[in-house]
């Protein structure tokens, strides 16, 4: 039979030698190994103070994007909700009224847009499905919360701040 890996080795079924039978020698060898670990580098990441670097393709918390003029990209087409395998996304569409052209890029927009972070599996299919470049996954993750309701993220949580929004406030 061909071995599956190059590291496969025949199991040694020889009867134990005297040294192995008295067991003590192997215990000493094992204890030397564990003793050497005193000087090994500690792998612990002291979390709140230190954070592990994420990989560049890390998929974290979602954001809803705006265009260069600060208008919301999302048109509430629902493709992200259809693509979502965990059915974490719900939305309600609304029609843009005259005078709201500076808020929404197209005639239709999402009046309500919610992602349940407890259902979300962070697969990134919503990002792939979106035809309007409206939803992106970032490199942060959802912080802890005391209530399940706290994990349902609405538009205020997801939308990135509009350019100049801080100046107006």
């Amino acid at each position: 039979m061909q071995a599956l890996t190059s590291r496969a080795r025949q199991v040694d079924r020889k009867p134990m030698t005297f040294i192995e039978k008295i067991y003590l020698w192997n215990i000493i060898k094992g204890m030397v190994i564990t003793f050497k670990h005193i000087w090994k580098r500690k792998e612990t990441v002291r979390y709140p103070e230190q954070k592990r670097a994420f990989s560049p393709v890390f998929r974290g918390l979602h954001i809803l994007n705006r265009d260069a003029e600060g208008r919301e990209n999302c048109t509430a087409c629902g493709l992200c909700a259809v693509a979502c395998p965990a059915e974490a996304i719900t939305m309600e569409a609304a029609e843009r009224k005259p005078g709201e052209e500076h808020l929404y890029r197209e005639e239709k927009y999402a009046a309500r847009y919610e992602i349940n972070m407890l259902r979300c599996i962070f697969c990134g299919f919503c990002e792939e499905a979106c035809p309007k470049d409206a939803i992106y996954l970032t490199e942060t993750f959802a912080p802890a919360n005391y209530k399940r309701e706290g994990f349902i993220y609405g538009k205020p949580d997801l939308l990135i701040p509009a350019p100049g929004e801080k100046k107006q406030a």
Partner: protein
């Protein structure tokens, strides 16, 4: 009748001191265990509660006190509570005959740093330690749980099997020293060499058996988490569980002290009598030396725990009956022959 009030006061202070120290050492053994485990596993261990996690034992104790107290409905209530109490009392009792140091001279009185220098100290320890198995047996049986019962049966047969070999290895030591008083054994080592040099095999057997007596890895079959859901203290919660765990650490402390006293010179240290220091200072240094030895043993206990996997039960029994006891008997025979040869020549 003239009551020696100073004597009573001295003993009360000594007893409370020893009790406090053994509780403190047991407390910090839990911290030490976690630190040793983490270091061996390349982690850093508890470091949130206080500097280097030094307040962790207090936090653990506080947690145990505030846990819900559960007594199972079909358990034997009296025995269920008696079990951990017995384990704790027995663990604390053994410290009485261990010589923690030589004598101090305070205001003209000579104070011996040993609670009771009884001439059968080793027998006393054996008697009390073998009572310890009742704590485990009662707890396991009274819980009315099959896993607890299995674990306590395992613990009982393990402790009884290993006590035999332990006793036999000690007999060789007693033949050599000719006394059962631990204080005298230490004093002999102060002038001669450490007993471990004359009784290496005896010490090895004693060491292995004390691992088994303390239910420590690789002999922790009575609390095999993977097979018995935690063992004899499965049904225990709150401070009753804490007592069981604490008793184990006190037992570890006491057996470290015993091994240090019997085989590693106890409170004596090399060149102790040729330093030319004040006797009181030498005594204090001696006590410090004893505690350093104890800490080394405690570290060894933990080091072994995080190195060696658990024995299978038949392996444990075979090791105890087929290897340890014949070895101890052979050791006894050889020692006897040498003692006899020396006394006739």
């Amino acid at each position: 009748m003239n009551i020696d009030w100073f004597f009573i006061l001295e003993k009360i202070v000594l007893i409370s001191g020893v009790l406090a120290v053994s509780l403190l050492v047991a407390m910090y053994s839990t911290w030490g265990e976690r630190k040793v485990a983490s270091i061996i596993q390349d982690r850093i261990g508890p470091n949130r509660a206080g500097f280097m996690g030094l307040l962790q034992p207090l936090a653990d104790g506080g947690k145990l006190f505030f846990k819900e107290e559960i007594i199972p409905g079909n358990s034997n209530r009296f025995l269920f509570i008696l079990g951990p109490s017995l384990a704790m009392i027995v663990a604390c009792m053994t410290s009485a005959v261990i010589p923690w140091g030589d004598t101090l001279t305070i205001a003209g009185h000579t104070v011996s740093l040993q609670i009771a220098d009884i001439n059968i100290g080793i027998l006393y320890i054996f008697g009390v330690v073998s009572l310890g198995v009742y704590g485990i047996m009662l707890g396991g049986w009274a819980s009315n749980n099959k896993y607890s019962l299995l674990a306590s049966v395992r613990a009982a047969s393990q402790i009884i099997s290993y006590e035999l070999a332990m006793g036999l290895s000690l007999i060789a030591l007693l033949m050599m020293t000719g006394t059962l008083s631990i204080k005298e054994i230490v004093e002999q080592q102060r002038h001669g060499g450490w007993n471990v040099l004359y009784q290496p095999l005896g010490f090895l057997i004693f060491l292995v058996c004390s691992f088994a007596e303390c239910n420590r890895t690789p002999f922790d079959l009575s609390e095999a988490e993977s097979e018995l859901n935690g063992g004899y203290h499965l049904e225990y919660s709150s401070m009753k569980l804490g007592f069981y765990l604490f008793a184990e650490y006190i037992n570890m402390f006491i057996s470290s002290a015993l091994m240090a006293s019997l085989y590693f010179g106890g409170y004596s240290f090399p060149f102790m009598d040729s330093l030319g220091l004040a006797p009181n200072l030498v005594t204090i240094l001696g006590t410090a030396a004893l505690f350093i030895k104890i800490i080394c043993f405690l570290f060894f206990f933990m080091w072994v725990r995080w190195t060696i996997p658990r024995f299978r039960y038949d392996q444990l029994m075979r090791l105890g009956w087929n290897i340890m006891i014949p070895l101890a008997l052979a050791n006894m025979l050889i020692t006897g022959a040498i003692v006899l040869y020396r006394s006739t020549h």
